[in-house]
């Protein structure tokens, strides 16, 4: 796999296909077995923990927050790899910038567990952004969100990729959203890449049928592709 900055890359596939495992391997949370991960032509294992944290941000699918911090404290955590002795004005500027952009400024003193799912997801993305990463890894960022928040998060992510030249790697379940917002798609099946390429190349009825076991009708629409699942096909 090779991905470039400024792109939004989606990893899709049925449950248990290894999407999260792949993302965690990229994030060096799990040791990549046999394969290596290269970032700017450097093996990520040669990065120190802090260096890596300055280069990639990761938001897991299920975020737990033992004792919840406030929004501001959470986002400040993203500056952790940069902090030597204390918060600098520069750290604050970056955090304030991100908060403004994501419209989180007004809730900076609220605790994380008092927020709605959508707001919380934005805060967690903000934390990852505060790391000023080159690579942003998001595991199902839209899973718990309503349709409006889904769109907000994905719009934001695409804009970030374009403006800041960040590589965004997402795991998505919603195929239509994946088709609409991704530059590149990896379709996984049984832990292997089944197909990859631009959305139109990957989303074909035969691919979907082979991977998901579902017969679909795919029609181009004014915003991406329209996919209608027709019926499950019995596996041979």
């Amino acid at each position: 796999m090779s991905m470039s900055r400024g792109d939004v890359v989606s990893i899709i596939g049925p449950n248990g296909a290894g999407k999260t495992t792949l993302l965690k391997s990229i994030a060096s949370i799990l040791p990549p077995n046999r394969r290596k991960v290269w970032l700017d032509a450097r093996d990520v294992r040669s990065f120190s923990a802090n260096e890596l944290a300055k280069n990639q941000g990761y938001v897991p699918q299920h975020s737990s927050f033992g004792f919840p911090l406030t929004v501001l404290e959470t986002i400040l955590l993203g500056r952790k790899p940069y902090i030597k002795w204390g918060i600098t004005a520069e750290d604050m500027r970056i955090v304030a910038d991100i908060m403004e952009k994501l419209q989180l400024s007004s809730m900076s003193e609220r605790y994380l567990d008092e927020l709605s799912g959508g707001e919380r997801q934005k805060v967690l993305i903000a934390r990852a952004l505060a790391q000023e990463p080159k690579v942003l890894l998001l595991d199902e960022p839209t899973s718990a969100l309503d349709i409006r928040h889904q769109l907000e998060v994905l719009e934001l992510v695409r804009e970030l990729a374009r403006q800041r030249q960040v590589l965004v790697v997402l795991i998505l379940h919603d195929l239509e959203l994946a088709a609409r917002y991704s530059d590149h798609i990896y379709l996984l099946k049984d832990g292997k890449i089944f197909a990859s390429g631009r959305p139109e190349e990957v989303f074909t009825p035969s691919h979907i049928e082979q991977v998901y076991g579902v017969q679909v009708e795919i029609t181009p629409s004014s915003h991406g592709l329209k996919m209608t699942a027709i019926r499950p096909v019995s596996s041979s």
Partner: protein
């Protein structure tokens, strides 16, 4: 507090910065108030007792202006060591509780639940009973250091076993806590059997020790405990950011550049050292390690940079007040302070559970 008028023309980072500064300021203010309360309680505790020391006399003694030799002796050699010991112990236990709760991301963690206390109790009991029966020496009078060393060794041993068990199961925090409870029970059984088999003299020492109290407070002991405490606190406060990051989960903490395994080990070791050395000299004192961090979280929030010092102060304050009550309630008879902390701590903890603002247990 944020300045509302400024917000119109100041750039956005100024606004957030002002907000941040404001919250830092109010947290520092809270810390100062707690510190002041502790100071007042200290003066009160020194002045009260079988012999009352009036405040002006007390101040004169503390500033070296008094000519009353008896009162000076009482203050410096009887009351101060004990009060300082209560403060040091309160800080150690509360800090240990706060760190353990942050490390394990579990509101139930404290020196008790992780087995440190029971391990230390067993170590001390072993030293007291074996010292008396095998070597024929009374360690409580002559061998404080042996008891302390043994308590420390067994406190560490308990944590090591608990931690090792948890590692067998992917370092799950649930397993860690359950293993702590199991190991704690095991060591308690050890203490019980030592009680059963020991002779009268040793048994009394042991029972008194187990109930917890500051009778053994001496400047010699404090000379060791205080530097140890200062070093431990310095190390732990340095990890405050890492502990904050850990609250977002282990995996996320790792992607934030936190060396999770290392801080787990270092913090657990330091905290065990702190808790078991103080327990070694004071005996078992419950609830402070559990209650102080929870109270602190309510008044100052969850940011470990402030939560740690606040827990320390609250722990010191609670234990100092408990010990003063222990001395005063049935004066001149003293009640073991462990009884007081449990007596007031348990209902208070239940109150916190019912009235708590947020649900940490989910």
């Amino acid at each position: 507090m944020p300045n509302k008028e400024m917000s119109a023309n100041v750039p956005v980072e100024g606004k957030v910065m002002a907000l941040y500064r404001g919250s830092i300021r109010s947290k520092l203010l809270l810390l100062s108030i707690t510190m002041l309360l502790l100071l007042i309680s200290t003066l009160y505790a020194i002045s009260r007792g079988a012999v009352e020391v009036p405040l002006y006399e007390l101040l004169a003694i503390l500033f070296g202006q008094s000519s009353d030799e008896m009162l000076t002796y009482i203050v410096y050699e009887v009351r101060l060591p004990r009060i300082v010991m209560a403060i040091v112990t309160g800080i150690s236990l509360a800090c240990a509780g706060a760190i353990m709760q942050a490390l394990l991301r579990n509101p139930l963690a404290d020196p008790f639940t992780l087995g440190v206390s029971s391990g230390a109790a067993f170590g001390a009991a072993l030293a007291i009973v074996a010292g008396a029966s095998v070597f024929g020496i009374n360690l409580v009078q002559s061998g404080h250091w042996m008891i302390a060393l043994n308590a420390f060794v067994f406190g560490c041993l308990a944590v090591l076993v608990v931690y090792g068990l948890a590692r067998l199961k992917n370092s799950s925090t649930t397993v860690l806590l359950l293993a702590g409870v199991a190991i704690g029970q095991l060591f308690s059984a050890g203490v019980s059997s030592l009680k059963y088999f020991s002779d009268n003299e040793a048994l009394k020492d042991l029972v008194v020790w187990l109930m917890g109290g500051f009778w053994g407070a001496k400047w010699q002991v404090l000379q060791i405990l205080i530097p140890l405490l200062v070093i431990s606190l310095a190390i732990l406060i340095k990890y405050a950011w890492d502990l904050n990051a850990l609250s977002a989960g282990e995996e996320v903490a790792r992607t934030l550049g936190v060396k999770v395994k290392r801080i787990r080990w270092v913090c657990l070791l330091v905290v065990t050292l702190m808790a078991s050395t103080t327990i070694a000299f004071t005996g078992i004192i419950g609830f402070i390690g559990l209650v102080a961090p929870h109270i602190s979280r309510m008044i100052i929030g969850t940011d470990n940079r402030f939560l740690l010092p606040c827990s320390c102060l609250v722990g010191a304050l609670l234990l100092l007040l408990s010990d003063t009550a222990a001395r005063m309630l049935l004066s001149p008879v003293e009640i073991p302070v462990g009884i007081i902390t449990a007596l007031f701590g348990a209902p208070f903890f239940v109150y916190l559970l019912v009235k708590k603002r947020r649900d940490y247990w989910a």
